[in-house]
């Protein structure tokens, strides 16, 4: 039976521990592709992903491997996104597998996401094969990392494989472990069809392409299918798998992993996590409970020039065909005009979408201060959600505000505990737990490695929290977070006035006791980033009608007028053209030319 010779697995790892490199090596060693043909790490497909070195969309590759027992196995490797923003997608990927290779960097040891990855995989009952990667590096410390794995994760040393994804050392043994330890898929070919969508993307030729893991039954081209969660009906336009090239096939059977092209127009109709069954003779129970990934971070997106708004609408609509997890709703700002309030899975997700909008659609965007979704109860007991600070009612009308909290886990050498705890406390974190997990690289200098657990408002993580964590730990600390629910809170709206005009794009909700400090640093920061104007520009921070901070940008008195040399008028004109062009990257607010970067800079500042 073919199913018995199939192994479906994924690789899980903290960022940069070597997931993509290992995938390449597996592809190469199983002969799916000659090493010189692996031009780039093939599983990271989008240009943007490659630049950022992270994987956003999961894809599956079928490998053929003849093991020592002489049997040729079919290995399906599913790539998982490496960042917590995409944890929902990771969980769907895990649900499509029976096993996971857990990659741990031999120079770094266990990191925050290593642990959350393991728990995740355990939740899905996966067989986990821990590997210590990068043992080729002189700075690697496999023994120390092994101890850590034993003590923190509870694996026996003989079950942990030392490898180098780069040189291939130890990877043949890993392949054997994959076929010997990971169980074959358990589904039943004779039952009604049930297949899990673990990823999907939109393709302009084929419509939505869904990546699926077939649990029971089979799918053929032309089959009429239904999504059990969403109710979408579709017909299979094309079917196949990747090896890693695109390989159309006749059918996918129970235990197989592959893709179907659906002809659907938007990934929103074919969401990750849904179970596919046949239109007739359907299954009764989905494979896993279907839910949609919910945005947690919200921001307003506007075009620098109001007249480009139409292009933004088109771009957002197009992009959302391909990303069902980002939400958008039109909104109108008194100073910025028409734009969208967009919801994202996290800050990284937000950055990626913003960059894609600017790059792929050639737009110049203004992105407002990101915020969370608040639940506000009015004095009349009516409750509603707020994603735009401007919608916050007058304090007198508010009975209570609730905001989302997250549980964070930080792993750091103990030397940095002090500054890190300070940071988290300043960010309104509540201490939960400390755990010592092993020795650091050089115990004398850095001390023990410690895992700290805190609960903190998600809002506090939306500005420079991560950057500061990194800088306060000289880059050693790693962070993981997970939304845990809503809690009551005290928040007020802080506004910024530029030249007397309230700029809603700078408004944010803050705790009352911090309003003054935050207001002050915001106006100071804006003073640095807004160029001098032809007149004096007052910058004010206010709560309601109360001004809590103020500074002025002095008027510009003199331009740089380069000497006109030997009649070189062209150069002079080019400089002026550049200046004129630069105005397009500015937003005029109350006659003040505000560069688009100003909007981002106020959130990238320390407080």
């Amino acid at each position: 039976m073919k199913q018995l010779k199939t192994r479906n697995f994924c690789i899980i790892a903290h960022i940069d521990h070597g997931k993509s490199t290992l995938a390449d090596r597996l592809i190469e060693l199983t002969g799916a592709m000659k090493s010189d043909k692996i031009i780039e790490q093939v599983m990271d497909s989008m240009e943007l992903e490659r630049e950022r070195g992270i994987t956003i969309k999961a894809k599956a590759i079928r490998l053929s491997y003849t093991a020592k027992d002489g049997v040729t196995y079919e290995l399906n490797l599913i790539d998982t996104p490496g960042h917590v923003d995409f944890s929902y997608e990771v969980s769907r990927t895990l649900a499509a597998c029976e096993g996971a290779i857990l990659v741990i960097d031999a120079t770094q040891g266990i990191q925050a996401q290593t642990i959350s990855n393991v728990y995740f995989a355990m939740d899905h009952n996966l067989e986990i094969i821990p590997v210590i990667n990068k043992i080729d590096l002189p700075s690697s410390e496999p023994e120390r990392v092994l101890e850590e794995i034993e003590s923190v994760l509870g694996y026996k040393s003989e079950d942990v494989l030392p490898i180098s994804a780069k040189t291939g050392q130890g990877v043949p043994a890993l392949l054997e472990a994959i076929v010997n330890k990971i169980p074959p898929p358990k589904g039943d070919l004779n039952k009604p069809l049930r297949a899990l969508i673990f990823d999907s993307h939109y393709d302009s030729y084929m419509g939505v392409v869904a990546y699926i893991s077939v649990n029971d039954g089979k799918i053929r081209k032309g089959d009429k299918l239904r999504l059990m969660g969403q109710g979408t009906e579709l017909e299979v336009v094309s079917i196949g798998y990747f090896n890693p090239k695109f390989c159309p096939a006749d059918e996918l059977l129970a235990g197989d992993i592959g893709y179907i092209a659906t002809g659907l127009k938007s990934v929103g109709e074919c969401r990750v996590g849904d179970t596919i069954t046949s239109l007739v003779d359907s299954a009764t129970e989905p494979l896993i409970g279907y839910k949609t990934a919910k945005p947690v971070v919200y921001t307003g997106i506007y075009t620098t020039q109001p007249e480009d708004h139409g292009q933004l609408r088109e771009a957002i609509e197009k992009l959302s065909l391909n990303d069902a997890s980002f939400s958008y709703e039109p909104e109108n700002s008194p100073v910025l005009g028409n734009g969208y309030r967009c919801g994202f899975l996290g800050l990284l997700h937000m950055d990626i979408i913003q960059e894609r909008l600017e790059r792929e659609f050639d737009l110049s965007l203004i992105v407002t201060v990101p915020g969370v979704k608040l639940i506000v109860t009015r004095t009349d007991d009516r409750q509603f959600m707020i994603v735009n600070p401007s919608d916050l009612p007058e304090p007198s009308e508010i009975l209570k505000i609730e905001e989302p909290w997250v549980k964070i886990s930080v792993i750091t050498p103990s030397t940095f505990i002090g500054p890190i705890m300070d940071l988290i406390t300043q960010s309104e974190g509540i201490y939960k737990h400390t755990e010592y997990i092993g020795h650091s690289h050089s115990p004398d200098a850095l001390g023990q490695r410690v895992r700290l657990e805190y609960e903190i408002p998600l809002r506090s993580m939306l500005t420079t929290f991560y950057d500061q964590l990194k800088s306060r730990s000289k880059g050693y600390a790693s962070l993981d977070h997970e939304v845990i629910g809503y809690r009551e809170t005290k928040l007020i709206k802080l506004d910024i006035l530029v030249n007397g005009v309230m700029v809603d794009a700078f408004s944010r909700v803050v705790p009352p006791d911090k309003a003054h400090d935050i207001g002050k640093s915001m106006v100071e920061k804006l003073k640095d980033v807004i160029p001098t104007q032809l007149f004096k520009v007052p910058l004010q921070a206010s709560i309601g009608s109360r001004i809590v901070a103020r500074t002025d940008i002095a008027a510009r008195r003199k331009d740089v007028l380069a000497k006109c040399y030997g009649g070189d008028i062209t150069r002079k004109r080019k400089l002026l053209e550049k200046q004129k062009e630069g105005k397009k990257k500015m937003r005029s607010i109350g006659k003040v030319e505000v560069p688009k970067d100003a909007f981002m800079s106020v959130l990238k500042m320390e407080q």
Binding site: L534, F535, R556, D559, K563, G566, G567, T570, R573
Partner: protein
């Protein structure tokens, strides 16, 4: 093409590079000068046209590295291949570190009738900071020698807005210059580009940053002082005693035609702007083979651009833009075509309009770029 023209000749050689220099000039190629002179003559011949030459300007670089004979040789080619106007203005830029009485007298004999001395500063500390090759003493000597040699049409170049330069430091420079009673003064604010060593010294904190506010005050002081001493502020950076305006520079601002000869020299002829290569070797190579050098810039100035340029250049002049002349030249009512910009700029107190003429206000002269860019066409 009109029947009269200006000629600019670029001499891209200097003894040593100044620390703020952004001009095309080479400090290790002075051996190339004699050969270069021959090629200048060749280029003059290749480009020769039958028209009146009203002004000739030797710029650089350091044109005063050329001998009187060399200058004479070039001028005589111009006399032969073009028609030198009787009252032609023939200017040379001179570095005080390269001239003496004899030289100045000789070049006068060779036909030079206007001398522009690159003094930059009369303060030795400032001269050192700028990396100039001369001292205050040499600067003073150069001016006195020029006077003695009978050069009566004299310009002094000064730079203000230097790192750490106070308003008083500047005042002293200005008063010293005025004391020599030059017919013309050019005052430039120091501007720096990232490649220049002075820029790096500021970046690294070795020197204080340039203060735009101080530079503005220095400029205003100059306007006041020079007016008191009888100078007319006829162009943003240029002041002259009545009748001593630099005719060659006016050619640029008034949109008249000029022919540029030599490395990196710019021409504007027949609504076409072009410039010779900035690469000395390419220049030498081309002309050695009797062909014109490659062009770095070569653009046709379409009417829309010509209008914008004429406003941008015209506004630099104190005489401003005559609404009537503009209409005569382009058939366009400037107040209609640029009504929105003009109104906005008047509100900003950057330009003024007395019904017949539009010109920069004193504030506008300091914030010229803010004015100029608004007149550029949207897409060129």
């Amino acid at each position: 093409m009109s029947d009269s023209m200006a000629i600019y000749i670029h001499v891209p050689f200097c003894r040593r590079k100044c620390k703020y220099c952004s001009f095309i000039s080479f400090d290790s190629r002075t051996n190339d000068i004699p050969g270069y002179i021959d090629l200048l003559k060749k280029e003059l011949e290749l480009r020769s046209v039958d028209c009146n030459i009203d002004t000739v300007y030797f710029g650089g670089g350091t044109p005063s590295l050329l001998t009187a004979e060399q200058l004479n040789g070039i001028l005589s080619v111009i006399g032969k291949k073009y028609r030198m106007a009787d009252n032609a203005e023939i200017t040379i830029e001179a570095n005080p570190g390269t001239v003496d009485f004899k030289y100045l007298a000789d070049i006068k004999t060779a036909g030079i009738n206007r001398l522009s001395i690159g003094i930059q500063s009369f303060n030795d500390d400032e001269l050192t900071m700028l990396g100039r090759i001369h001292t205050r003493k040499e600067a003073v000597n150069a001016i006195e020698d020029a006077r003695e040699a009978g050069v009566d049409n004299l310009n002094i170049d000064l730079i203000y807005g230097l790192p750490g330069q106070s308003i008083d430091d500047w005042k002293e420079n200005l008063l010293t210059a005025i004391g020599f009673n030059p017919g013309h003064l050019s005052l430039y604010a120091l501007t720096l580009e990232p490649e220049e060593s002075l820029f790096k010294e500021i970046e690294s904190g070795k020197l204080p940053d340039i203060s735009a506010g101080t530079a503005a005050s220095q400029y205003e002081l100059a306007e006041e002082l020079l007016q008191k001493h009888g100078y007319v502020h006829y162009e943003i950076s240029n002041w002259a005693q009545p009748g001593r305006e630099c005719r060659h520079n006016l050619v640029y601002w008034q949109g008249s035609e000029y022919l540029g000869i030599g490395v990196a020299a710019h021409s504007y002829i027949g609504k076409r702007r072009s410039s010779n290569t900035e690469d000395l070797d390419k220049y030498i190579n081309a002309l050695s083979h009797n062909v014109l050098p490659p062009q770095d810039v070569d653009e046709i100035i379409i009417p829309e651009l010509e209008i914008a340029e004429s406003i941008i250049l015209g506004l630099r002049l104190y005489s401003g833009i005559s609404i009537k002349d503009f209409e005569k030249r382009f058939g366009i009512d400037i107040m209609k075509r640029f009504g929105r910009q003009i109104e906005e700029l008047i509100n900003f107190d950057l330009i003024e309009n007395d019904k017949t003429v539009i010109r920069l206000t004193p504030r506008g002269r300091l914030l010229g770029n803010e004015v100029f860019w608004r007149f550029l066409p949207d897409k060129v």
